[in-house]
Symmetry: D2
Subunit: 255 residues, 4 copies
C-alpha cells in the first residue's frame, strides 16, 4: 500500500509572498510547481526547484491559464491548440530549472480552471495529454480520479496518477461537490484522515448522498497555505504511516 | 571560409502579426526565435519552430526582457540573478517546442536591451553565460563581436559565435555607432555586401573614423521585416556564395 | 432619419501596428477606442484620441477583458464585481486622455467576448451598466440591438444606442448567426447597403430563415482593418446620404 | 504648523494580499493608491478608494512603471512621451473609482523607480508634471523635497508638496543616502520622531556627515507593511500632535 502526498508550491510572485512552502515540503512527496502563467516568476521557480530538491520532494510542473490576476481560477475559452502550446511552454520553462539544478522533472498537474475544465472536456484533456506526450513521454500526468483527463492520458499512452481530495465531498458520479454547495468541504480532521485511509486501502469513498463509490487514490492533494495546512499535512502523513501505508512519490506509486 | 546568416523570427503576438518570416527563412541559416517575454506567445513559438525546421534553419532561443509593450528594447535594471533566471526560463520554454517537434536547439542570442546591456556589463554577461551553461552546455552563445558577452562566455567554457552587423557602422573601439548618430546605418547595399565579405575573409572592417579594426564574423545579422529585408537577405546570400564563402549554420562555423 | 457609423480604432500595441485608423476615421462618426486590456497601450490611446479629435469623430471607450494574447475574444469567467471594476478602470484611463486633449468622452461599447457575454447574461449586463452609470451618467452605452445589455442599461437609467451589423446575418430571435455557421457573413456589398438602409428606415431586417424581424439601428458597426474595409466605409456612408439618411454621432441619433 | 502623513495603500494584487491598509489608514492623512501597473488591480483599487473614503483619508494616485514582477522598483528606460502617457492613464483609471465613490482625487505621487528617476532627471520630471497638469491642474504633485520633480512641477504651474522620509538619512546635497550604504535607514524611533518634528518646525535636518541642511516637510512618508509600521504610524502622529503640529491632508498644508 502506497500513496503520494502532493501540494502546490512556488505560488509567490515578485514582491508578493504566499504559501508556507518550506514547512509543507517536509511532509509531502511531490510538489506541483507553478510556471509563471497563473502564479510565480522565473526567480520564484528557481528557488522552489532548489527547495524541493533539498527536501527530496519529487518535482512536477503545474501549468495554468495566463491569468495572474485571477490566479488561473477563472475559466477561459482557450482553444485546444493554444492550450497544448501553453502547457508545453510551461513544462519547458520549469524543466530548464530542473536541468540547471540537475534534478528530474517527474509529473505534470494542470492548475485551477485548466484542471477543472480538462476533467470534463475531452478536447481539452486531449490537448494536455498530447502536450505532455510530445515534450517528454516519461512524465506522469496527475489528474482528478475518474476524470476525462486521466482517461484521455491513458489512451494517449502516458503514465497517469489519480488524485483525490481528502477534505472534499464527492458526488455519486465521482465528481467533486462544488465549493458553492453546502457540505463541499469536510472540516472534521479525523473524518478526513479516515476517508483518506479508506480511499487508499479500499479504493472507495462515501458520496455526499451516502453511496459507496469507487475511487483511485494514487495521490492525495494537500494545501500549502496557512499553519493549519502544515499541521494537517504532518498529521495525515503520520496517520497514513500508522495505517501501514507508505508515503512515496508518484513514480513509485504508479509503477 | 564559412559564415552563418541569422535573423530574428517569430515576433508576432496573438492577433498581431509582424515580420516576413517565411520569406526570410529561405535565405538564413539560423533563426533567433522570440520566447514570449519581449514578443511572441506559445502558439507563435510552436509555428515558428515548425517553420524553421521545414526550412532546415538552425534554431536558437532569443530571450528578452519582460517588456512586451517596449518590445524588449528598453533598458531595465534587472539584477544578475533575476536575469539568469529569466534567460533559463525562456530557453526552457523554447526547448519544449524543439522537443515536441524533434529538432535540436542550437544557440542562444539575447534580444534588444538585454543584448546591448550584456555587451558592456560583465555581471549581466556572466549571468547570461551561466544561465546557458547550466541549462545545456552544448548551446552556442551568439553575441556582439568583441563584447563582454563573448569574452565572458568563452571564460565560462561555452562555445561562442561572434556576430556582426553588415549595415551598421562601427566605432574604432569595435562597438556599434549608436543609431542616434549620423552615419550609424549604412544604406548603400553594395557597400554592405563589400563590408560583409571583407569581415568574413579578412576579419577586419573600416570604422566610422576611417581606421581598420579587427572583427570576428561568425554570423551576420539580417533583418526580417519588410520586403527590402527579404530582397537584401537573398542578395547577400548570393554574393557571399559568389565570393566562395559557404553559408552554413553556427555550429559548422565555430566547430 | 439619422444613423451613426462606428468602428473600433486604436488597436495597435507597442511595436505592433494594426488597423487603417486614419483612413477609416474619415468616414465614421464614432470611434470605439481600445483601453489597454485586450489591445492598445497608453501611447496608442493618446495618439488615437488626438486622431479622432482631428477628424471630428465622437470618442467612446472600448473596454475588454484583460487578455492581450487573445485580443479580448476569449470568454472569461469574470465575476460581475470584477467586471464592473475593470470597466470603470478602462473608462477612466481613456477619459484621462480626453481631458488632456480637451475633448469629451461620449459613449462606451464593450469589446469582443465582453460584448457577446453581456448581450446574453443579465448579471454581466448589469455590472457594465452600473459601471458606466457610476462613473458618468451622461455616457451612452452602445450595445447589440435587442440584447440584455441594452435592456439592462435602459432600466438602470442610462442613455443607450442599439448597434447593428450590416454584413452579418441575423437569426429570427434577433441574435447574430454565429461566425461558425454558413451564411453568417454577408459578402455582397450591395445587399449589405440595402440591408443597412432598410434597418435604419424601416427598423426591420430579414433573418437567415427568411422572416422579417424588428431591429433598432442607431449605429452601424464598420470594420477598420484592410483596404476593403476602408472602401466599404466610404461607400456605405455615401449610399446612406443618397438615401437621405444623415450620418451623425450617437448623441444626435439617440437624443 | 501643519504636516501631512502619507502612506502607499492598495498594493495587493488578485489573490496576493499585502500591507496592513486598514490599520495604517487610521493614522495617515493621505493615501497614495497604486494604479495597476506596479501593483494592484481594478478590484483592489475600488476597495482601497472605499476604505480611504471611510477613514477620511485624502486620495492620491500612485502611478508606477509597468513592471508588476519588479513592483515598479526597477529602473526602466521609458521615453518622456511614453512616461507622460502612462501617468495620465493611471491617474484616469484611479479617478474613475473616485468618481464612482463620489470622493475627490487630490494628489499624485510617482512610485518607486519612477519617483527616484524623476527626482534627478528633468525630462522625466517634466513629463510627469505635464501629465498631471493636462489631466487636472488642481491635482497636487507630491515629490521628494528638493528634487527636480518639485522644481519642474512648480515651474509648470502645478501645486506641489515636498515629501520627507523620517527614517532615512540624507546626504548633504539633500538627496537620500542609498539603501545600499550603511546608515541609510534610521532605526532609533525616538531619533526618527525628533528628526520629523525638527523638519516640520525648523525646515532643517542633519545630514549623514553632520551638516545642517534645509528641507521642506509638507508630508512625511510612512510605511504600510508590518505591525511595527502601524505602531510607528500611531506613535509619530501622537508625537506630532503633542509638539503642536497639526496632522492634516496635503491640500491644507500647501494652501
Amino acid at each position: 500500500m502506497k500513496v503520494d502526498l502532493n501540494a502546490d508550491l512556488g505560488e509567490s510572485f515578485g514582491a508578493y509572498k504566499c504559501g508556507m512552502d518550506e514547512e509543507v515540503a517536509r511532509y509531502i512527496s511531490s510538489a506541483n510547481i507553478a510556471c509563471g502563467f497563473h502564479a510565480s516568476d522565473p526567480s520564484v521557480m528557481k528557488r522552489t526547484v532548489c527547495m524541493a530538491k533539498d527536501n527530496h520532494v519529487a518535482i512536477g510542473a503545474h501549468p495554468g491559464y495566463p491569468d495572474l490576476q485571477g490566479f488561473g481560477r477563472r475559466n477561459m475559452a482557450v482553444s485546444p491548440d493554444d492550450l497544448k502550446n501553453m502547457v508545453q511552454y510551461q513544462i519547458g520553462a520549469l524543466n530548464a530549472f530542473c536541468r540547471a539544478m540537475n534534478v528530474p522533472l517527474k509529473h505534470v498537474k494542470p492548475h485551477g480552471a485548466m484542471y477543472n475544465m480538462a476533467a470534463k472536456d475531452e478536447k481539452l484533456a486531449n490537448a494536455i495529454a498530447e502536450a505532455v506526450m510530445e515534450v517528454n513521454p516519461e512524465l506522469i500526468l496527475l489528474g482528478l480520479s475518474g476524470s476525462f483527463l486521466i482517461a484521455t492520458a491513458d489512451r494517449v499512452g502516458l503514465k497517469t496518477a489519480s488524485e483525490v481530495f481528502a477534505d472534499r465531498a464527492y458526488q455519486s458520479d465521482g465528481s467533486l461537490v462544488p465549493r458553492s454547495m453546502e457540505g463541499a468541504v469536510i472540516c472534521d480532521e479525523e473524518a478526513v484522515v479516515r476517508r483518506s485511509i479508506r480511499m487508499v486501502k479500499e479504493g472507495a469513498v462515501t458520496s455526499i448522498d451516502g453511496k459507496d463509490i469507487p475511487i483511485k487514490a494514487d495521490s492525495i492533494c494537500l494545501h500549502g497555505d496557512g499553519e493549519n495546512a502544515v499541521l494537517f499535512a504532518k498529521m495525515i502523513r503520520e496517520e497514513l504511516v500508522k495505517a501501514s501505508i507508505e508515503v512515496t512519490s508518484i513514480e513509485y506509486v504508479v509503477e
